[in-house]
């Protein structure tokens, strides 16, 4: 969902750019806007704080990292280059998710595998427990009403009122 937000953020950035309103000094020469910087910062984590995305981290250090993103954008770096730079500098913990390589691929592999195993077991359990419904009995209940819910409800209400 972050992806959608980002896409919208960027589109909005362009729309805003085309309108006449005050932007930071930088933006007036066509440089990166705060929104461009935040779009990348949002996908990174503050390297020293704990679990705070870089775009919302209020500390001075984070301010500087956002300035670094801006510098790199001015140099024409792509999003991925900037992210790689952050990983080189501060380690993989700055990424919102670890890259799916080596041992860390396991974080993505295990849940679907377990899901499939779980679904299989659920299926087997349900099959093993399956018995044929006692057909005539259920017919008997539905004589009263063709709607089993109402039948059940009415039956319950009757029992209650007794």
């Amino acid at each position: 969902m972050r992806k959608f937000q980002m896409a919208m953020g960027i589109t909005l950035g362009f729309i805003l750019l085309s309108q006449v309103f005050a932007l930071p000094a930088f933006a007036q020469d066509g440089g990166p806007t705060d929104d461009d910087v935040n779009a990348i910062a949002r996908e990174l984590y503050c390297p020293v704080c704990e679990n705070i995305p870089l775009d919302v981290c209020p500390t001075q250090a984070c301010e500087q990292w956002r300035a670094t993103i801006r510098e790199k954008l001015v140099l024409g770096w792509s999003d991925d280059q900037i992210k790689d730079y952050f990983v080189d500098q501060y380690g993989p913990r700055v990424l919102a998710e670890p890259p799916a390589e080596g041992f860390n691929a396991l974080v993505y592999i295990l849940p679907p595998v377990l899901f499939v195993i779980g679904a299989l077991i659920l299926f087997m359990v349900m099959r093993a427990w399956k018995v044929e419904p006692p057909a005539p009995k259920s017919k008997g209940v539905s004589v009263e009403s063709d709607d089993p819910y109402i039948a059940q409800l009415e039956q319950e209400l009757r029992q209650r009122d007794e």
């Binding site: 390297p47 250090a61 500098q89 377990l114 195993i117 077991i121 087997m124 359990v125």
Partner: protein, 194 residues
């Protein structure tokens, strides 16, 4: 998931006709619980043990300086290495920056190497910091926080003095309060090594 899987599997065994429950299920559940406890336990030990202790062997590390030179700790064996962790956003670091440079000037010809490791910082600010305090000994970013993780630092500033034998000889957590304090610590290490 193991817990669940197993138990539903166990329930499975209750259906008419089957009575024995699979041993592997019990084994799997125990493996899972004990494995989880092991992970938590090791995590706990790691979070509690603090930085490396005096006398521990310092792993071989490489510092890439802001100038692009690579300094390999392995090449410095036989010398005393003073490793100072700092960052431009760290206010207490500024207290000791000038004194560290002074100490470097005192000892640079006596077989003592000073290295500054810039812990998660931005290059522009870091260079500004070095210029502001006139730091001339080699400094470089802690790429991927590998060096600080090797020392298991808890924050900045911290200073680690490695003896000529490659073992940690002295530690200072927090800023040095005076040049004398640095000198004393280095002198002590030099005396011990002789």
């Amino acid at each position: 998931m193991e817990i669940i899987d197993n138990s539903t599997a166990e329930n499975n065994e209750e259906s008419p006709g089957k009575t024995s429950r699979p041993k592997w299920g019990v084994v799997l559940v125990w493996l899972f619980v004990l494995g989880l406890l092991a992970v938590l336990g090791i995590g706990l030990v790691r979070s509690q043990r603090g930085s490396i202790k005096v006398g521990d062997r310092v792993p071989d590390l490489v510092l890439t300086t802001f100038e692009g030179d690579e300094i390999d700790f392995a090449d410095l064996h036989g010398q005393i290495i003073v490793v100072n962790f700092w960052a431009s956003w760290c206010k207490p670091c500024e207290q000791e920056a000038v004194e560290l440079e002074q100490a470097y000037q005192l000892y640079k010809d006596q077989g003592v190497v000073f290295l500054g490791v810039d812990y998660v910082d931005t290059e522009t600010e870091a260079r500004g910091y070095l210029a502001k305090f006139g730091v001339t000994y080699p400094n470089g970013p802690d790429l991927g926080t590998r060096i600080s993780q090797a020392f298991r630092t808890l924050g900045v500033p911290e200073t680690y003095i490695i003896g000529p034998d490659g073992r940690l000889a002295a530690v200072k957590i927090g800023p040095y309060l005076s040049l004398d304090e640095i000198v004393n610590q280095i002198e002590t290490v030099m005396a011990e090594q002789k």
